[in-house]
């Protein structure tokens, strides 16, 4: 299959359709509008349904209903819209339903801005909604990886009966790169015998629910979920270790920011200085082992984010006090400048201040 040049948001939509998405419920918000627009045009051609909801809250609850009815369903939004969807995401997780949520992150808090940001890290990895739930959160760094993950996302959601979030920033959503749509490795998916299709007089009623008034019932429900999350940690943790053979310092960054870090690494290579990169592809589950495996050569870790420092907390947990940790972050839509990162690296290596 040949490559095509597509805008990020449209590529995500096309990959979702090829990944088996049949239902889309959403509400307009910049910078992800090309995604629902593409869906409104293309999904009906594939026998699917696109519906523009009255709000983000309604959209995620339509997703909840559709998932309960067995539909392969998704929604997309951007940061403040995702905040509105958190209630529904918690219900979807609580009722063990599969669904895919795309978040094209913009700067916050509040209405914030519309430029690229990574300040939703806490919102997407720490629940956001109520309760002890988790969901795989993918943070691809380029359009090919984004498309690969989108084509797999619906299978992952169905496999675990769990919501899956795919996160890009405004830059990923707006940029164009060549992509190739490749079928993911098929997974053996469980039969959906729990969905609301009407009993047809053949079985007991199916009930989609997250309400457990008995404390012990709710605790058991949560314990079962924990087993599922443990499986996800084991099977779905993804990371790229880049130039990690003998680094003097390790950068860690995800998404767009990791690409800037790779430029920085190339610059240092010219001077004969080896800098490594740990690039989480999932931020939940977080790739703890990559940090345990940092070679002895490394003098420290520099966390680079398009936020005032959110992933850094997970890095500290993974590092467990072993190496000094530095931070360079820009926010509000400002993009880290490679020169600033270079200066910070030199500072940590004990060179130029």
């Amino acid at each position: 299959m040949s490559k095509v040049l597509m805008k990020g948001n449209e590529a995500i939509a096309e990959a979702a359709i090829r990944g088996g998405c049949k239902f889309f419920f959403g509400y307009p918000i910049t910078p992800q509008n090309e995604l629902p627009e593409y869906m409104s045009r293309e999904l009906p051609k594939h026998g699917g349904v696109f519906l523009q909801a009255e709000s983000e809250v309604a959209a995620i609850n339509m997703v909840y209903g559709a998932a309960g009815a067995g539909g392969r369903v998704m929604t997309s939004s951007s940061s403040p819209g995702i905040a509105l969807k958190q209630e529904g995401i918690s219900y979807i997780a609580g009722a063990n339903l599969p669904a895919v949520i795309v978040n094209i992150v913009r700067g916050g808090p509040g209405l914030g801005g519309i430029q690229p940001a990574q300040s939703d890290y806490n919102q997407v990895t720490r629940g956001g909604g109520d309760g002890d739930y988790k969901m795989p959160v993918f943070v691809p760094a380029n359009l090919q990886e984004m498309v690969d993950i989108m084509m797999e996302a619906f299978d992952i959601a169905d496999y675990y009966r769990n919501p899956v979030m795919v996160v890009g920033d405004g830059m990923i959503g707006q940029m164009m790169e060549p992509i190739e749509f490749k079928k993911p490795v098929p997974r053996e998916l469980p039969v959906k015998d729990w969905i609301t299709t009407g009993t047809k007089g053949e079985r007991k009623p199916n009930i989609i629910n997250s309400l457990f008034l008995e404390a012990s019932d709710l605790e058991n429900h949560n314990l079962e979920a924990q087993e599922k999350y443990a499986e996800m940690v084991k099977n779905e943790t993804r990371v790229e270790n880049y130039n990690m053979e003998k680094p003097e310092l390790v950068l860690t960054a995800y998404g767009t920011t990791s690409r800037i870090c790779k430029n920085v690494i190339a610059e240092f290579k010219k001077e004969g200085i080896e800098i490594g990169l740990i690039r989480p592809i999932t931020v939940w589950p977080f790739p703890h082992k990559a940090f345990e495996d940092i070679p002895e050569s490394a003098k420290g870790i520099l966390v680079v984010e398009m936020s005032q420092g959110q992933m850094i907390d997970d890095v500290k947990i993974a590092n467990n006090g072993r190496l000094p940790i530095g931070f360079h972050g820009r926010s509000g839509g400002m993009i880290p400048d490679p020169q600033d990162i270079i200066l910070k690296v030199r500072e940590m290596l004990g060179g130029v201040k």
Binding site: K22, F23, F25, V49, L51, A53, E54, S55, V57, A58, A59, N61, M62, V63, Y64, G65, A66, A67, G68, A69, G70, G71, V73, E87, G88, Y91, A95, T196, T197, G198, T199, K200, G201, P205, N206, I207, I208, N209, S210, L211
Partner: protein, 248 residues
């Protein structure tokens, strides 16, 4: 011995948790009977909301989904859009439908979503302990209007049926009551029509049912029925506000 009365097959054997004298049980029975009589129980999916009817997923003998507060119409939309051949309905109280879920109910009507809504108006929040609802009457005492609701502070009660009837996609809108055997029969007829509308695929149907809440009204079941007649009916007149025939 001849059986003269049997519980509807539309209900499970789970014992209802509703307070003595509450009319939820009556409305549950009517919905269940209609689903059986229309022979759609086996292809119906109900959406239970938050509030006193939160547990109705245990009572109805069909597929059910529990929804968050106010969102039942959106959840029902999702279900119906996946399987248009299903009979999808919501069962919502006044806190759920007339307060936190106004956007969702207006927009299922706006889209003419082919679902059916049973709306229980008892002028109060029941489950949370008797707080003011948008439907609470002027002068009515609740735990959050302890000297009685005033127009100045909270405005006048919302008339949902009248409001929804102004929306084109709402093709059947009727307000009924379950205070007397006659009114119960009329209520059942309206509920049946609302489901028939869904089967005809013409649009959204809603039946507003005036109901009692003896516990939070602090009245006996009998006095509650009288209070409903004396206070609710004058402000919330019974009757049909919209039928599909009007549009033909």
């Amino acid at each position: 011995m001849a059986i003269v009365y049997d519980k509807s097959k539309g209900l499970t054997d789970v014992e209802l948790h509703f307070c003595p004298g509450c009319t939820h049980g009556t409305v549950h029975k009517l919905v269940a009977e209609v689903l059986v009589e229309l022979d759609v129980l086996e292809k119906s999916v109900g959406v239970a909301p938050v509030g006193c009817s939160a547990l109705s997923y245990d009572y109805f003998n069909c597929d059910m989904q529990q929804a968050s507060h106010g969102r039942a119409p959106a959840v029902a939309t999702g279900i119906k859009r996946v399987n248009p051949e299903l009979v999808v309905w919501t069962y919502q109280g006044d806190g759920d439908l007339a307060s936190i879920g106004t956007a969702e109910i207006i927009h299922v009507a706006h889209r003419g979503e082919k679902i059916t809504t049973i709306f229980i108006n008892n002028a109060i929040y029941g489950m949370t302990g008797g707080q003011m609802a948008p439907t609470t009457l002027i002068g009515q005492k609740t735990t959050t209007t302890q000297d009685g609701r005033t127009v100045e502070h909270s405005g006048k009660p919302l008339k949902m049926a009248e409001m929804l009837a102004t929306i084109d996609g709402a093709k059947f809108v009727e307000r009924v009551s379950v205070d007397t055997p006659t009114n119960i029969r009329k209520a059942k007829k309206a509920i049946r029509k609302a489901f028939e509308l869904q089967l005809s695929g013409k649009g959204f149907g809603i039946v507003e049912v005036l109901s009692t809440c003896p516990t939070n009204w602090a009245l006996t079941p009998r006095d509650s029925l009288q209070w409903l007649r004396d206070n609710m009916m004058p402000y919330y007149p019974l009757g049909n506000f919209r039928t599909p025939e009007e549009d033909e």
